[in-house]
Symmetry: C2
């Protein structure tokens, strides 16, 4: 296999929200990018996306000599992968569609080329089952938008070559991402399991009239989310316990936590529940519009990442240790 | 009742992590603060806490003429509340202990004085049941550390006077906090329900060897938490759906969300599970120490709030609307 830091040509299959953002990130790191997408107007949309994303890409570690026009649109995915040293697949989130994509592109891929899928939660073992060389298929699940948010979940399937997992971890690091190796293959990997665990109670709170959508979100943006942007759930729990840390917290608050767990809501996504949440969101954002929200989100995410960088990383990062 | 913005003397009962931080916040807003705590060395610890917290208090809206020495320690809680126009109780998180505190202090409180409890999740209806004037007892649950994090959950009990709830909301706003009115009394209010919903899966991930403590936390600090610091769970879900928003997301991702919900872990806080998590946390922070982590947390929280302030608020805030 090629050295991860020698890769200079990557293919992006699928140019929706995630694929376009990946393309912008790869371009920022000086790669030549081939892109395929069967959707109408995909090439024009991608052009616009890269143009809009470019200032953020540059602020977040894009190379000085990176060229935002260094991409080529291919109507055929086999053409896109033909010359590529790495493939990032961000097609529709359906098992059958992804399997069909792999069946089409694999014969056109170089034998040692790794394909990572952006799947939000499908199992790579199922996706790779019918591949000719399943060992080079791996999950590389980013967080929306991937040209800004550092995390990538790397997950191996039962037939993924362990060397390929290591290669993907190294490649994403080389790209300036923060890859984490999810060591067991479970539906939703890890990030989406954490996300929907919280979302379940957030939906329940709205459905049960405990709080409005805006107030549920404020509980995060003016409270929990501020801490989790800096520390994560375990370290937050540890620090909340005072000098006794998590050990003390479990003794002190453990019984309450178990009681709260038992009382959490168990909503289902019936049409009524979905409609109530959608209505609440529409009310919460009635003063603005979608494009403006996305632009402001991206601007503030970049500012947040720059702040963390200026501080030398998160509180728990090894780089923050006392120099002695 | 006194006008919320006319309050200038407040009592703080309990000077642990939360009570001390409240005292620092009240001082920053120009209040005269009386504090009681039966613990050994409580007064000295409080003095140190206020000194350490003062730079953050000043950066986050403390008044220019606020005086960090404008407090008096009382060994007796009845003395602390005697002259106060508002009482913030942050005693031990136990029903019986809080009820005993209210029994002791209520006769010494002015008739119209509101008492807000910092309880993390006890029901105010149970806490107020035996009070002489239960109408003025309400929940004012802050987020650690209260002198920095804006959110306060306000919850009324069955016997809380609705005017008192409104008064508490107005008073916390006057103090520069972000109060949210939790409209139904449920164990854990809202914030801790959201927190433990996620924490359950975070503990499961470590217990089931899906990921290390450091990697679970990175999933937040390099991923989910960045978005939730700015947008909350509902707005994040809405924006992830592309222009179709949450409506499209529910159609597109709804079945997957239901599958992930069904697969989430259901750990219990057995000694083994707690030990495994504590061990993982100890390993993740072995390079640093508790005081340093707390100091860095507070420094970065202040920087994060300043960044949000410079940006004019969160993406979903009404202040962010298009001026037209």
């Amino acid at each position: 296999m090629i050295e991860p830091n020698a890769v200079c040509r990557v293919a992006v299959i699928g140019a929706g929200t995630i694929g376009s953002s990946w393309a912008a990130h790869f371009l920022g790191r000086g790669m030549h990018v081939t892109v395929s997408d069967p959707g109408p107007g995909a090439s024009e949309k991608l052009k616009q996306f890269i143009e809009d994303a470019w200032p953020a890409v540059q602020r977040l570690g894009g190379l000085d000599d990176a060229d935002p026009s260094n991409w080529r649109f291919c109507h055929d995915s086999t053409e896109a992968v033909g010359d590529a040293q790495f493939v990032q697949e961000s097609g529709p989130e359906r098992l059958d569609e992804k399997i069909a994509i792999y069946k089409a592109v694999e014969p056109a891929m170089g034998d040692d080329v790794v394909l990572a899928t952006s799947t939000s939660g499908l199992l790579i073992s199922q996706l790779q089952a019918d591949c000719r060389r399943p060992g080079r298929f791996v999950v590389g699940h980013p967080v929306n938008p991937p040209h800004i948010i550092p995390l990538v979940e790397v997950v191996a399937g039962t037939r993924t070559d362990p060397q390929v997992t290591d290669w993907a971890m190294a490649f994403y690091k080389f790209l300036g991402k923060h890859p984490v190796h999810i060591r067991k293959e479970v539906p939703g990997h890890l990030l989406n399991r954490l996300q929907v665990a919280l979302l379940r109670e957030a939906i329940h709170a709205v459905d049960a009239d405990i709080a409005s959508v805006a107030d549920v979100d404020a509980t995060l943006t003016a409270g929990l989310g501020l801490r989790w942007a800096l520390m994560g759930a375990h370290l937050t729990f540890h620090l909340a316990g005072g000098p006794g840390g998590a050990r003390h917290q479990f003794e002190h608050l453990g019984p309450a936590v178990e009681q709260w767990w038992a009382d959490l809501g168990d909503p289902h996504l019936t049409p009524d529940v979905c409609a109530k949440v959608v209505e609440g969101i529409d009310r919460a954002v009635a003063h603005t519009n979608f494009d403006q929200l996305v632009a402001k989100r991206d601007e503030m995410l970049v500012a947040l990442l720059e702040m963390i960088g200026e501080q030398g990383g998160h509180p728990g990062d090894p780089a923050q240790s006392v120099s002695s």
